[in-house]
């Protein structure tokens, strides 16, 4: 089991760093390139939402990221001090219609489709989002 940790300011241009951090951890856990990319994508969407919707215009916020990997498993935790929001249980529409595709809501769709489990807790006045994914057997 490996644990890694990082922290960013609530700036959009910091997301790339988190993405890379998660992607590398996923590869270390034995995920293939596209599975690792998917984890990078999901966590990037989560951070974007925290920065834009959670902190809003406030760029003095922070996001803490911790990643725990075991062989074939990755668990990512995001902590922020923005107002409470539960992405794990927000209603999402997983099957967009072709005639009227959604413009909004893609971020949550991506997070839910990539991750096997999403768990939200409000702890000590902070948002805690825990996301887990296991490596898929090669199809």
């Amino acid at each position: 089991m490996v644990k890694k940790h990082m922290k960013i300011d609530s700036h959009l241009d910091q997301i790339e760093r988190v993405g890379r951090f998660v992607q590398e951890a996923a590869q270390d856990a034995g995920f293939d390139e596209m599975e690792s990319y998917a984890c990078e994508l999901a966590v990037s969407e989560a951070c974007e939402n925290i920065i834009l919707h959670g902190y809003g215009d406030d760029s003095t916020g922070e996001i803490e990221v911790s990643v725990r990997t075991e062989p074939d498993n990755i668990t990512i935790e995001l902590w922020d001090d923005a107002p409470p929001f539960d992405p794990a249980n927000s209603p999402i529409k997983l099957d967009p219609s072709i005639d009227d595709p959604p413009i909004g809501g893609l971020g949550l769709v991506i997070m839910h489709r990539v991750m096997d489990e999403m768990e939200y807790n409000r702890r000590e006045g902070r948002n805690q989002l825990r996301m887990r994914r296991s490596r898929k057997p090669p199809s």
Binding site: D13, E16, L41, E45, P101, V109
Partner: protein, 110 residues
């Protein structure tokens, strides 16, 4: 992100490389917008060099598709990188954008 535009008779090829995300999407959006305003409604996106595309980039695509469709045009993707194909599939949007294995077949489809 870098954007390169090649205008042909029937189709405009927009080549994007790098990241299309919440930081860069508006540049991509503006480049497409400029073409659409000139009446270029047939677009082939060369996405071979796109390393990362997030929902911010997908929104630009979905919006552009709507605009060109209403104007009788079409937007397709030429030689998408694996990341682009993966993202479209995760988001469930792969049915909206025809994907071609290379620029040539994409251009020849117009």
């Amino acid at each position: 992100m870098e954007i390169n535009i090649q205008g042909y008779k029937r189709v405009t090829v927009v080549t994007v490389t790098g990241r299309v995300d919440s930081v860069t999407y508006s540049e991509f959006e503006n480049a497409l917008q400029a073409e659409l305003e000139q009446g270029k409604v047939n677009i082939a996106l060369d996405f071979s060099g796109v390393e990362f595309i997030s929902s911010a980039g997908l929104r630009v695509l979905v919006n552009a598709r709507k605009t060109v469709k209403n104007a009788g045009g079409r937007i397709v993707i030429a030689q998408p990188s694996q990341q682009v194909t993966e993202t479209l599939e995760i988001a469930g949007l792969e049915v909206l954008f025809e994907q071609f294995p290379d620029r040539e077949t994409a251009i020849a489809a117009f």
